[in-house]
């Protein structure tokens, strides 16, 4: 933001929105990290904690909604200020959603911890770390109003999508080779899908930041490289020679 408002409390109100978003972002990032860590360590107790902590995000979202509505009604912001409030509202909804995905990962971790360990869990964890980095960067971009950094996050989602596609294939193959992996494999696929969705949501925050800074939507469409929806892995028995 260029200079301060004549009415100083207006600045304080806007800063408060940013602070809530930063806090929500930090929390979402931690929730995802903890959920992934719990999954890797097959730690059901830690997963329970993740589930428990999700309501903090919900509370903050409600708080932000109230603050933003109040600000709109009382200050009638214009231009950059208006965009800041809209961006905060949209972003908080997305961060809350990211929290829900992390919570779902934790729930599946509890199920996964009761089944045989499955190899691709490590690839899923790598995907999770990638997305976690994206969340961190997009929040930095948000707080520092850095459109270039936000654009960078949008492009990194392609990596996540590619990883998701290859992981999908890998897990299907595991399940085909050994039916004992079907339960864990299915849960793992959902975990991977959750992470992939978090990646998409993170890019939507990046888009919000771009609009906030520039006042217009980013031009080129982001390349979609998640092909998992179209992926087919042929059964080895059909192939006949596989083995």
């Amino acid at each position: 933001m260029s200079t301060d408002h004549i009415v100083k409390s207006f600045d304080a109100d806007l800063r408060k929105l940013d602070n809530i978003i930063a806090e929500m972002g930090g929390l979402a990032e931690i929730q995802l990290a903890d959920a992934i860590d719990a999954m890797l360590k097959r730690d059901a107790e830690k997963a329970e904690l993740v589930i428990e902590h999700d309501n903090r995000l919900d509370e903050l979202e409600t708080q932000l909604d109230e603050r933003a509505t109040e600000l709109l009604a009382l200050r009638q912001p214009m231009a950059e200020d208006l965009r800041a409030v809209i961006c905060a509202l949209k972003t908080s909804a997305v961060l809350e959603r990211i929290g829900d995905y992390a919570k779902n990962i934790a729930k599946r971790t509890i199920a996964l911890s009761q089944t045989a360990p499955i190899g691709p869990a490590r690839t899923v964890a790598r995907m999770g770390q990638l997305v976690q980095g994206m969340i961190k960067n997009v929040l930095d971009a948000y707080v520092s109003r850095d459109a270039d950094k936000a654009e960078d996050v949008r492009h990194r989602d392609e990596e996540v999508d590619a990883l998701h596609t290859s992981l999908f294939r890998e897990v299907l193959t595991y399940m085909m080779e050994d039916p004992r992996f079907i339960t864990s494999g299915t849960h793992l696929l959902f975990v991977a899908k959750n992470i992939e969705r978090i990646g998409d949501h993170t890019t939507s925050i990046a888009r919000n930041v771009y609009v906030l800074v520039n006042g217009v939507a980013p031009e080129e469409q982001r390349a979609k490289s998640d092909a998992s929806s179209y992926t087919v892995v042929e059964s080895p028995t059909k192939e006949g020679t596989a083995g």
Binding site: S2, T3, D4, H5, I6, V7, F10, Q76, P77, M78, A79, E80, D81, L82, R83, G215, V216
Partner: protein, 274 residues
């Protein structure tokens, strides 16, 4: 060939020049400057105002917006030591010219002021005065029809039809302002200038005037000076931002209030200076 044309225009164009578009604006202002004695109040303004649109002029006090507004019907002539240079064309007719009949000009360009200023006469006479002196009517019944029609268009008829011969000054502030609008439109002007028409009114009366402005746009071109950014945003299609006598930015209202091009505009409308 196109390059040559561009180069030719470019060479002749002074700074801040707006290319003349194929579609002629209702009011075309070029290089308009205003001086109060030695003091320059308006600097070389280029501005196109389109027909049947509401153009809002905004900016901090002393920015030149009212000065510009008053150029359009030569109200600055009434101020001693004030001189206006440059060109303002109304449908192609130059109005910054000693030879212009200002009485006729002011019939084409009506004005509504900040404070409602009805004549100390009856409601009927307030509206009838203009058409009568401009000889727009030939019979009493025609005059009555015109008064009724003007009051209806100003959204005041229902409230005053039973007391047309009571003094206009007995109405409420909002009603008085609508009476002034009825008086302005009775002479069938093309343009209506409004100088902070709602600043003395309560929110309900303000809303009525704003609704009226939106309806009047169908038949008139409206230029409004307002200190309320929200009002400018609500009523206008185009917004022009003035600062220290310069026109800083002019464009679609929705663009100016969501994503202005100029940093000064942004600072002003977001309340960072003014």
């Amino acid at each position: 060939m196109e390059t040559q044309e561009t180069a030719a225009t470019g060479a002749a164009a002074p700074a801040g020049f707006i290319a003349d578009t194929a579609e002629d604006p209702k009011i075309r202002t070029r290089g308009c400057s205003v001086f109060y004695g030695d003091k320059q109040a308006l600097f070389d303004v280029d501005l196109d105002i389109q027909e049947n649109e509401v153009t809002a002029l905004i900016g901090p006090s002393g920015c030149g917006k009212s000065t510009y507004l008053r150029c359009i019907n030569r109200m600055n002539d009434t101020i001693d030591g004030c001189s206006v240079t440059g060109s303002i064309r109304l449908d192609g007719d130059e109005i910054i010219d000693k030879g212009v009949d200002v009485v006729l000009l002011r019939a084409r360009v009506g004005m509504v002021f900040q404070k409602p200023n009805p004549f100390p006469k009856s409601i009927f006479e307030n509206v009838a005065y203009g058409p009568r002196i401009h000889g727009l009517v030939s019979s009493k019944s025609e005059l009555e029809g015109m008064v009724e029609n003007s009051l209806k268009r100003a959204g005041l008829w229902e409230e005053v039809k039973d007391r047309l011969h009571q003094p206009g000054t007995g109405l409420s502030g909002g009603q008085q302002q609508r009476l002034c609008i009825a008086r302005a439109i009775a002479v069938e002007p093309e343009v209506i200038l409004m100088d902070e028409p709602c600043s003395a009114l309560d929110p309900i009366a303000t809303a009525k005037i704003e609704e009226l402005i939106d309806e009047l746009r169908e038949n008139f071109t409206i230029v409004i000076v307002t200190h309320s950014m929200q009002q400018a945003a609500r009523v206008s299609q185009k917004t022009a931002f003035f600062h220290l006598g310069n026109l800083i930015e002019h464009g679609d209202t929705n663009k100016v209030f969501t994503n202005p091009d100029n940093e000064k505009t942004q600072d002003y409308i977001t309340g960072r200076f003014g």
